[in-house]
Protein backbone atom coordinates (compact mmCIF):
# COMPACT_ATOMS: atom_id res chain seq x y z
CA UNK A 1 0.00 0.00 0.00
CA UNK A 2 1.30 3.44 -0.94
CA UNK A 3 0.97 6.55 1.17
CA UNK A 4 1.23 10.17 0.08
CA UNK A 5 4.49 11.89 0.96
CA UNK A 6 4.57 15.68 0.83
CA UNK A 7 7.98 17.18 1.41
CA UNK A 8 9.88 20.32 0.62
CA UNK A 9 13.04 19.14 -1.16
CA UNK A 10 15.70 21.80 -1.74
CA UNK A 11 12.99 24.43 -1.48
CA UNK A 12 10.57 22.73 -3.90
CA UNK A 13 7.24 21.33 -2.69
CA UNK A 14 7.22 17.70 -3.83
CA UNK A 15 4.53 15.01 -3.65
CA UNK A 16 5.04 11.31 -4.30
CA UNK A 17 3.28 8.12 -3.24
CA UNK A 18 5.56 5.59 -1.51
CA UNK A 19 5.40 2.24 0.28
CA UNK A 20 6.09 2.24 4.05
CA UNK A 21 9.33 0.28 3.94
CA UNK A 22 11.11 2.47 1.39
CA UNK A 23 14.11 4.48 2.49
CA UNK A 24 14.42 8.20 1.98
CA UNK A 25 17.52 7.58 -0.15
CA UNK A 26 15.64 5.26 -2.46
CA UNK A 27 12.77 7.71 -2.92
CA UNK A 28 15.12 10.66 -3.47
CA UNK A 29 17.07 8.79 -6.14
CA UNK A 30 14.36 6.73 -7.86
CA UNK A 31 11.20 8.84 -7.56
CA UNK A 32 12.44 12.40 -7.19
CA UNK A 33 15.49 12.06 -9.45
CA UNK A 34 18.08 13.42 -7.06
CA UNK A 35 21.11 11.15 -7.44
CA UNK A 36 23.52 13.33 -5.47
CA UNK A 37 23.00 11.32 -2.25
CA UNK A 38 24.83 8.02 -2.80
CA UNK A 39 24.21 4.47 -1.72
CA UNK A 40 27.49 3.28 -0.23
CA UNK A 41 26.95 0.71 2.50
CA UNK A 42 23.12 1.01 2.74
CA UNK A 43 23.66 0.38 6.46
CA UNK A 44 24.31 3.81 8.07
CA UNK A 45 28.04 3.13 8.32
CA UNK A 46 29.51 5.24 5.52
CA UNK A 47 27.53 8.50 5.35
CA UNK A 48 27.54 8.74 1.52
CA UNK A 49 23.73 9.08 1.67
CA UNK A 50 23.77 11.99 4.15
CA UNK A 51 21.03 14.60 3.73
CA UNK A 52 19.59 17.19 6.07
CA UNK A 53 16.05 16.82 7.41
CA UNK A 54 14.93 20.05 9.07
CA UNK A 55 18.62 20.95 9.18
CA UNK A 56 19.74 17.79 11.01
CA UNK A 57 22.03 15.20 9.40
CA UNK A 58 20.26 11.97 8.50
CA UNK A 59 21.55 8.76 6.93
CA UNK A 60 18.88 8.67 4.23
CA UNK A 61 19.54 4.99 3.45
CA UNK A 62 18.20 4.03 6.86
CA UNK A 63 15.43 6.56 7.36
CA UNK A 64 11.88 5.78 6.30
CA UNK A 65 10.86 8.15 3.52
CA UNK A 66 7.37 8.54 4.99
CA UNK A 67 8.83 9.85 8.25
CA UNK A 68 9.90 13.00 6.38
CA UNK A 69 6.29 13.89 5.50
CA UNK A 70 5.73 17.61 6.03
CA UNK A 71 9.42 18.25 6.63
CA UNK A 72 12.22 20.05 4.82
CA UNK A 73 14.92 18.01 3.07
CA UNK A 74 18.20 19.39 1.78
CA UNK A 75 20.36 17.26 -0.50
CA UNK A 76 23.70 18.12 -2.09
CA UNK A 77 21.75 19.46 -5.09
CA UNK A 78 20.22 22.10 -2.83
CA UNK A 79 23.50 23.35 -1.39
CA UNK A 80 24.61 25.44 -4.39
CA UNK A 81 24.50 25.97 -8.14
CA UNK A 82 27.35 24.38 -10.13
CA UNK A 83 28.49 27.84 -11.28
CA UNK A 84 28.74 29.08 -7.71
CA UNK A 85 29.90 26.34 -5.31
CA UNK A 86 29.33 26.56 -1.56
CA UNK A 87 32.36 27.57 0.50
CA UNK A 88 32.70 23.95 1.68
CA UNK A 89 32.75 22.68 -1.91
CA UNK A 90 35.20 25.36 -3.05
CA UNK A 91 37.50 24.61 -0.12
CA UNK A 92 37.38 20.86 -0.84
CA UNK A 93 38.52 21.58 -4.41
CA UNK A 94 41.27 23.94 -3.29
CA UNK A 95 42.60 21.65 -0.54
CA UNK A 96 42.44 18.50 -2.68
CA UNK A 97 39.78 17.00 -0.44
CA UNK A 98 38.09 15.21 -3.34
CA UNK A 99 39.50 12.22 -5.16
CA UNK A 100 36.97 9.67 -6.46
CA UNK A 101 34.18 11.90 -5.17
CA UNK A 102 31.73 9.21 -4.09
CA UNK A 103 31.76 10.22 -0.42
CA UNK A 104 31.87 13.95 -1.18
CA UNK A 105 28.12 14.70 -1.22
CA UNK A 106 27.79 13.14 2.23
CA UNK A 107 30.89 14.92 3.53
CA UNK A 108 29.52 18.27 2.34
CA UNK A 109 26.16 17.66 4.02
CA UNK A 110 27.74 16.67 7.37
CA UNK A 111 30.07 19.66 7.17
CA UNK A 112 27.16 21.96 6.34
CA UNK A 113 25.19 20.69 9.34
CA UNK A 114 28.21 21.51 11.51
CA UNK A 115 28.97 24.96 10.04
CA UNK A 116 25.29 26.01 10.07
CA UNK A 117 25.16 25.24 13.80
CA UNK A 118 28.70 26.16 14.80
CA UNK A 119 30.62 28.33 12.32
CA UNK A 120 33.50 28.88 14.75
CA UNK A 121 34.30 25.15 15.04
CA UNK A 122 37.77 23.81 15.77
CA UNK A 123 39.53 20.77 14.33
CA UNK A 124 38.23 18.38 16.98
CA UNK A 125 34.67 19.46 16.27
CA UNK A 126 35.18 18.98 12.53
CA UNK A 127 36.52 15.46 13.07
CA UNK A 128 33.61 14.65 15.39
CA UNK A 129 31.06 16.01 12.90
CA UNK A 130 32.55 13.89 10.09
CA UNK A 131 32.70 10.78 12.31
CA UNK A 132 29.89 9.11 10.32
CA UNK A 133 31.46 9.72 6.90
CA UNK A 134 33.93 7.29 5.40
CA UNK A 135 36.40 8.32 2.69
CA UNK A 136 38.67 5.62 1.27
CA UNK A 137 40.76 7.96 -0.90
CA UNK A 138 41.96 11.07 0.86
CA UNK A 139 43.01 9.97 4.33
CA UNK A 140 40.76 12.75 5.72
CA UNK A 141 43.49 15.34 6.41
CA UNK A 142 42.66 17.45 3.38
CA UNK A 143 38.93 17.15 4.04
CA UNK A 144 39.36 18.40 7.60
CA UNK A 145 41.57 21.28 6.38
CA UNK A 146 38.95 22.16 3.78
CA UNK A 147 36.11 22.32 6.31
CA UNK A 148 38.22 24.50 8.62
CA UNK A 149 39.04 26.75 5.67
CA UNK A 150 35.36 27.01 4.74
CA UNK A 151 34.55 27.87 8.34
CA UNK A 152 37.09 30.70 8.27
CA UNK A 153 35.69 32.05 5.01
CA UNK A 154 32.11 31.90 6.25
CA UNK A 155 33.13 33.76 9.41
CA UNK A 156 35.05 36.40 7.44
CA UNK A 157 32.02 36.90 5.23
CA UNK A 158 29.72 37.15 8.24
CA UNK A 159 32.17 39.65 9.71
CA UNK A 160 32.20 41.90 6.63
CA UNK A 161 28.44 41.85 5.99
CA UNK A 162 27.18 41.85 9.52
Amino acid sequence: MKYPLNVRVNGVETSVDVEPHRSLLNVLREDIGLTGPKEGCDDSECGACMVLVDGRPVNSCSYLALQTDGREITTIEGVSEPSCPHSIQQALLEEGGVQCGFCTPGIVMSAKALLDANPSCDEDEVRLALGGNLCRCTGYQKIVRAVLRAAEQLQDRAGTTG
Binding site: D42, S44, R56, V58, Y63
Partner: protein, 306 residues
Protein backbone atom coordinates in the same frame (compact mmCIF):
# COMPACT_ATOMS: atom_id res chain seq x y z
CA UNK B 1 0.50 -5.55 2.63
CA UNK B 2 2.49 -3.21 4.76
CA UNK B 3 0.80 -0.43 6.66
CA UNK B 4 2.15 2.82 8.06
CA UNK B 5 0.77 5.13 10.73
CA UNK B 6 2.14 8.40 12.04
CA UNK B 7 0.23 9.19 15.26
CA UNK B 8 0.61 12.66 16.75
CA UNK B 9 0.01 11.68 20.39
CA UNK B 10 1.15 8.87 22.68
CA UNK B 11 -2.50 7.86 23.29
CA UNK B 12 -3.11 7.54 19.56
CA UNK B 13 0.05 5.42 19.22
CA UNK B 14 -1.07 3.12 22.06
CA UNK B 15 -4.48 2.67 20.42
CA UNK B 16 -2.79 1.73 17.13
CA UNK B 17 -0.54 -0.78 18.94
CA UNK B 18 -3.62 -2.39 20.49
CA UNK B 19 -5.38 -2.55 17.15
CA UNK B 20 -2.51 -3.98 15.10
CA UNK B 21 -0.86 -7.06 16.56
CA UNK B 22 2.73 -7.42 15.36
CA UNK B 23 3.08 -3.69 14.76
CA UNK B 24 6.44 -2.18 15.59
CA UNK B 25 7.14 1.31 16.82
CA UNK B 26 9.76 3.31 14.95
CA UNK B 27 11.22 6.58 16.23
CA UNK B 28 14.57 7.54 14.69
CA UNK B 29 14.85 4.29 12.74
CA UNK B 30 18.54 3.96 13.59
CA UNK B 31 18.08 0.42 14.91
CA UNK B 32 14.87 -0.93 13.37
CA UNK B 33 15.44 0.23 9.81
CA UNK B 34 19.17 -0.50 9.83
CA UNK B 35 18.60 -4.05 11.10
CA UNK B 36 15.94 -4.67 8.47
CA UNK B 37 18.13 -3.34 5.66
CA UNK B 38 21.06 -5.41 6.90
CA UNK B 39 18.90 -8.54 6.69
CA UNK B 40 18.93 -9.10 10.46
CA UNK B 41 15.13 -9.26 10.43
CA UNK B 42 12.31 -8.39 8.07
CA UNK B 43 10.75 -4.98 8.12
CA UNK B 44 7.56 -5.22 10.21
CA UNK B 45 4.30 -5.35 8.29
CA UNK B 46 2.81 -2.54 10.37
CA UNK B 47 4.95 0.45 11.26
CA UNK B 48 3.87 3.01 13.84
CA UNK B 49 6.14 6.03 13.41
CA UNK B 50 6.05 8.08 16.60
CA UNK B 51 8.49 10.87 15.63
CA UNK B 52 5.58 13.32 15.39
CA UNK B 53 4.02 12.48 18.78
CA UNK B 54 5.12 15.71 20.45
CA UNK B 55 3.99 14.62 23.93
CA UNK B 56 6.73 11.97 23.80
CA UNK B 57 9.42 14.65 23.44
CA UNK B 58 8.78 16.41 26.74
CA UNK B 59 11.14 17.13 29.63
CA UNK B 60 9.63 17.32 33.11
CA UNK B 61 11.64 18.28 36.19
CA UNK B 62 10.19 17.82 39.65
CA UNK B 63 11.24 16.88 43.19
CA UNK B 64 11.66 13.21 42.16
CA UNK B 65 14.22 13.97 39.48
CA UNK B 66 13.74 14.43 35.78
CA UNK B 67 11.46 12.64 33.33
CA UNK B 68 12.71 12.42 29.73
CA UNK B 69 10.21 11.71 26.96
CA UNK B 70 10.88 8.58 24.91
CA UNK B 71 11.77 10.71 21.88
CA UNK B 72 14.60 12.53 23.67
CA UNK B 73 17.54 12.27 21.26
CA UNK B 74 21.08 11.29 22.11
CA UNK B 75 22.20 14.64 20.66
CA UNK B 76 20.00 16.48 23.17
CA UNK B 77 21.21 14.37 26.10
CA UNK B 78 24.85 14.80 25.06
CA UNK B 79 24.51 18.61 25.07
CA UNK B 80 22.16 19.06 28.02
CA UNK B 81 23.88 20.91 30.89
CA UNK B 82 21.25 19.42 33.26
CA UNK B 83 22.01 15.80 32.32
CA UNK B 84 25.75 16.44 32.02
CA UNK B 85 25.98 17.89 35.52
CA UNK B 86 23.56 15.60 37.40
CA UNK B 87 23.37 12.34 35.47
CA UNK B 88 26.79 12.51 33.78
CA UNK B 89 26.98 8.79 32.97
CA UNK B 90 23.97 9.08 30.68
CA UNK B 91 25.49 12.05 28.86
CA UNK B 92 28.78 10.09 28.57
CA UNK B 93 26.84 7.24 26.97
CA UNK B 94 24.67 9.23 24.55
CA UNK B 95 27.74 11.13 23.35
CA UNK B 96 29.32 7.84 22.20
CA UNK B 97 26.36 6.46 20.24
CA UNK B 98 26.96 6.06 16.49
CA UNK B 99 27.69 9.22 14.53
CA UNK B 100 26.27 12.77 14.67
CA UNK B 101 23.43 11.57 12.41
CA UNK B 102 22.70 8.59 14.69
CA UNK B 103 22.65 10.87 17.72
CA UNK B 104 20.46 13.47 16.01
CA UNK B 105 17.81 10.85 15.18
CA UNK B 106 18.31 8.00 17.64
CA UNK B 107 16.21 8.25 20.80
CA UNK B 108 16.54 7.18 24.42
CA UNK B 109 13.28 5.22 24.19
CA UNK B 110 14.44 3.46 21.05
CA UNK B 111 17.82 2.57 22.55
CA UNK B 112 16.07 0.92 25.53
CA UNK B 113 13.34 -0.91 23.62
CA UNK B 114 15.82 -2.25 21.06
CA UNK B 115 17.39 -3.91 24.12
CA UNK B 116 20.82 -4.60 22.70
CA UNK B 117 23.09 -6.01 25.41
CA UNK B 118 25.69 -3.54 24.10
CA UNK B 119 23.46 -0.46 24.31
CA UNK B 120 25.30 2.47 25.80
CA UNK B 121 22.44 4.00 27.82
CA UNK B 122 21.47 0.78 29.63
CA UNK B 123 24.29 0.63 32.19
CA UNK B 124 23.94 4.33 33.15
CA UNK B 125 20.17 3.91 33.63
CA UNK B 126 20.84 0.88 35.86
CA UNK B 127 23.20 2.78 38.15
CA UNK B 128 20.67 5.61 38.43
CA UNK B 129 17.97 3.01 39.24
CA UNK B 130 15.88 4.70 36.56
CA UNK B 131 12.39 3.55 35.68
CA UNK B 132 10.21 3.82 32.60
CA UNK B 133 6.53 4.43 31.97
CA UNK B 134 4.72 2.02 29.70
CA UNK B 135 1.39 3.07 28.20
CA UNK B 136 -1.34 0.82 26.80
CA UNK B 137 -5.12 0.93 26.57
CA UNK B 138 -5.11 -0.78 30.00
CA UNK B 139 -3.37 2.22 31.54
CA UNK B 140 0.11 3.21 32.58
CA UNK B 141 2.59 1.17 34.57
CA UNK B 142 6.01 2.01 35.93
CA UNK B 143 8.81 -0.52 35.48
CA UNK B 144 12.41 -0.25 36.71
CA UNK B 145 14.86 -0.43 33.81
CA UNK B 146 16.40 -3.44 35.58
CA UNK B 147 13.09 -5.29 35.15
CA UNK B 148 12.42 -4.02 31.63
CA UNK B 149 15.51 -5.62 30.10
CA UNK B 150 14.81 -9.32 29.61
CA UNK B 151 17.45 -10.56 27.17
CA UNK B 152 19.22 -9.78 23.94
CA UNK B 153 16.66 -7.82 21.93
CA UNK B 154 13.91 -8.61 24.45
CA UNK B 155 12.04 -6.52 27.02
CA UNK B 156 9.27 -7.33 29.47
CA UNK B 157 7.00 -4.75 27.80
CA UNK B 158 3.87 -6.30 26.31
CA UNK B 159 3.56 -6.02 22.51
CA UNK B 160 0.84 -3.38 22.91
CA UNK B 161 2.78 -1.27 25.40
CA UNK B 162 4.47 1.97 24.38
CA UNK B 163 7.45 3.29 26.31
CA UNK B 164 6.52 6.93 26.91
CA UNK B 165 9.22 8.24 29.26
CA UNK B 166 12.28 7.48 31.35
CA UNK B 167 12.61 8.86 34.89
CA UNK B 168 16.03 9.66 36.31
CA UNK B 169 15.70 9.81 40.12
CA UNK B 170 17.36 12.65 41.98
CA UNK B 171 20.77 11.82 43.46
CA UNK B 172 22.28 12.66 46.86
CA UNK B 173 24.92 15.42 47.18
CA UNK B 174 28.59 14.51 46.59
CA UNK B 175 27.56 11.99 43.95
CA UNK B 176 29.27 11.53 40.61
CA UNK B 177 28.76 9.08 37.77
CA UNK B 178 30.46 8.01 34.57
CA UNK B 179 30.11 5.63 31.65
CA UNK B 180 33.23 4.29 29.97
CA UNK B 181 33.50 1.76 27.19
CA UNK B 182 36.18 -0.07 25.31
CA UNK B 183 36.05 0.64 21.59
CA UNK B 184 38.05 -0.20 18.49
CA UNK B 185 37.25 3.11 16.80
CA UNK B 186 35.72 6.44 17.71
CA UNK B 187 32.62 6.60 15.50
CA UNK B 188 29.87 4.20 14.44
CA UNK B 189 31.13 1.89 17.16
CA UNK B 190 29.41 -0.57 19.44
CA UNK B 191 30.85 -1.18 22.90
CA UNK B 192 33.28 -4.10 23.14
CA UNK B 193 32.48 -3.87 26.84
CA UNK B 194 31.24 -0.90 28.84
CA UNK B 195 30.75 0.09 32.46
CA UNK B 196 28.78 2.72 34.30
CA UNK B 197 29.63 3.71 37.86
CA UNK B 198 28.01 5.94 40.44
CA UNK B 199 29.89 7.01 43.57
CA UNK B 200 28.59 8.97 46.56
CA UNK B 201 31.27 10.24 48.93
CA UNK B 202 30.64 10.52 52.68
CA UNK B 203 31.75 13.35 54.96
CA UNK B 204 34.80 11.26 55.86
CA UNK B 205 35.85 11.16 52.20
CA UNK B 206 35.15 7.44 51.93
CA UNK B 207 32.74 5.77 49.53
CA UNK B 208 29.33 6.05 51.20
CA UNK B 209 27.49 4.40 48.33
CA UNK B 210 28.27 3.11 44.87
CA UNK B 211 26.67 1.31 41.99
CA UNK B 212 28.25 -0.45 39.03
CA UNK B 213 26.61 -1.76 35.85
CA UNK B 214 28.01 -3.39 32.72
CA UNK B 215 27.17 -3.43 29.02
CA UNK B 216 28.09 -5.98 26.33
CA UNK B 217 29.04 -8.45 29.07
CA UNK B 218 25.83 -10.51 29.46
CA UNK B 219 22.49 -10.99 27.62
CA UNK B 220 21.31 -7.72 29.18
CA UNK B 221 23.05 -4.80 30.82
CA UNK B 222 23.60 -5.95 34.44
CA UNK B 223 24.52 -4.60 37.86
CA UNK B 224 27.76 -5.85 39.44
CA UNK B 225 26.66 -5.94 43.07
CA UNK B 226 29.68 -7.75 44.49
CA UNK B 227 31.88 -4.92 43.27
CA UNK B 228 29.50 -2.39 44.84
CA UNK B 229 29.47 -4.18 48.20
CA UNK B 230 33.24 -4.34 48.36
CA UNK B 231 33.74 -0.66 47.62
CA UNK B 232 31.35 0.77 50.22
CA UNK B 233 33.34 2.21 53.13
CA UNK B 234 36.68 2.15 51.30
CA UNK B 235 38.80 5.12 50.31
CA UNK B 236 38.16 6.16 46.69
CA UNK B 237 41.63 5.34 45.37
CA UNK B 238 43.10 3.29 42.56
CA UNK B 239 43.67 0.22 44.74
CA UNK B 240 40.04 0.12 45.94
CA UNK B 241 38.76 0.61 42.39
CA UNK B 242 40.97 -2.23 41.11
CA UNK B 243 39.81 -4.59 43.86
CA UNK B 244 36.14 -3.76 43.22
CA UNK B 245 36.61 -3.99 39.46
CA UNK B 246 38.11 -7.47 39.77
CA UNK B 247 34.87 -8.61 41.45
CA UNK B 248 32.74 -7.18 38.62
CA UNK B 249 33.95 -10.04 36.44
CA UNK B 250 31.73 -12.31 38.55
CA UNK B 251 28.59 -10.66 37.16
CA UNK B 252 29.33 -11.29 33.51
CA UNK B 253 28.54 -13.99 30.97
CA UNK B 254 30.40 -12.63 27.95
CA UNK B 255 30.06 -14.04 24.47
CA UNK B 256 32.49 -14.33 21.60
CA UNK B 257 31.48 -12.38 18.52
CA UNK B 258 32.98 -10.29 15.75
CA UNK B 259 33.97 -7.51 18.14
CA UNK B 260 35.81 -9.56 20.78
CA UNK B 261 36.27 -12.99 22.30
CA UNK B 262 34.57 -13.89 25.58
CA UNK B 263 37.99 -14.20 27.21
CA UNK B 264 39.04 -10.72 26.11
CA UNK B 265 35.73 -9.24 27.27
CA UNK B 266 36.11 -10.90 30.66
CA UNK B 267 39.62 -9.48 31.00
CA UNK B 268 38.57 -5.99 29.93
CA UNK B 269 35.55 -5.69 32.24
CA UNK B 270 37.75 -4.90 35.21
CA UNK B 271 39.60 -2.25 33.19
CA UNK B 272 36.48 -0.33 32.19
CA UNK B 273 34.91 -0.69 35.65
CA UNK B 274 38.06 0.67 37.27
CA UNK B 275 38.10 3.64 34.88
CA UNK B 276 34.40 4.37 35.34
CA UNK B 277 34.77 4.27 39.14
CA UNK B 278 37.74 6.63 39.03
CA UNK B 279 35.87 9.19 36.89
CA UNK B 280 32.67 8.86 38.96
CA UNK B 281 34.63 9.39 42.21
CA UNK B 282 36.50 12.36 40.76
CA UNK B 283 33.24 13.93 39.66
CA UNK B 284 31.72 13.21 43.08
CA UNK B 285 34.63 15.15 44.60
CA UNK B 286 33.88 18.10 42.31
CA UNK B 287 36.51 17.56 39.62
CA UNK B 288 35.26 18.65 36.21
CA UNK B 289 35.71 15.80 33.73
CA UNK B 290 34.06 16.69 30.44
CA UNK B 291 31.47 14.53 28.67
CA UNK B 292 32.13 11.98 27.27
CA UNK B 293 34.40 10.56 29.97
CA UNK B 294 35.74 8.04 27.45
CA UNK B 295 37.51 10.81 25.53
CA UNK B 296 38.60 12.69 28.64
CA UNK B 297 40.01 10.03 30.96
CA UNK B 298 42.40 11.59 33.47
CA UNK B 299 45.90 10.31 32.71
CA UNK B 300 46.29 9.15 36.30
CA UNK B 301 43.21 6.96 35.81
CA UNK B 302 44.52 5.38 32.66
CA UNK B 303 47.90 4.77 34.33
CA UNK B 304 46.48 3.27 37.48
CA UNK B 305 44.22 0.84 35.65
CA UNK B 306 46.34 -0.07 32.65
Amino acid sequence: MSRYFAPTTAAEAAALLAEHGGARVVAGGTDLVVAARGGKHRMPEVLIAIHGATDLASLVENEDGVRLGALTSHAWIERSPLIGSHWSALADASALVGSPATRANGTLGGNLMNASPAMDTGAPLLVFEADVELLSLRGTRTVPVADLLAGAGRTTAEPDELLTSVRLPDLPPATGSAYVRLEHRRAMEIAVVGAAALVTLGDDGRVADCRVALSAAAPTCVRAREAEDLLRGLRPDGASFRDAAALATGAVQPITDVRASARYRRAMISVVVSRALAVAAARAAGTDIAVPANRNLPTVTAGSTG
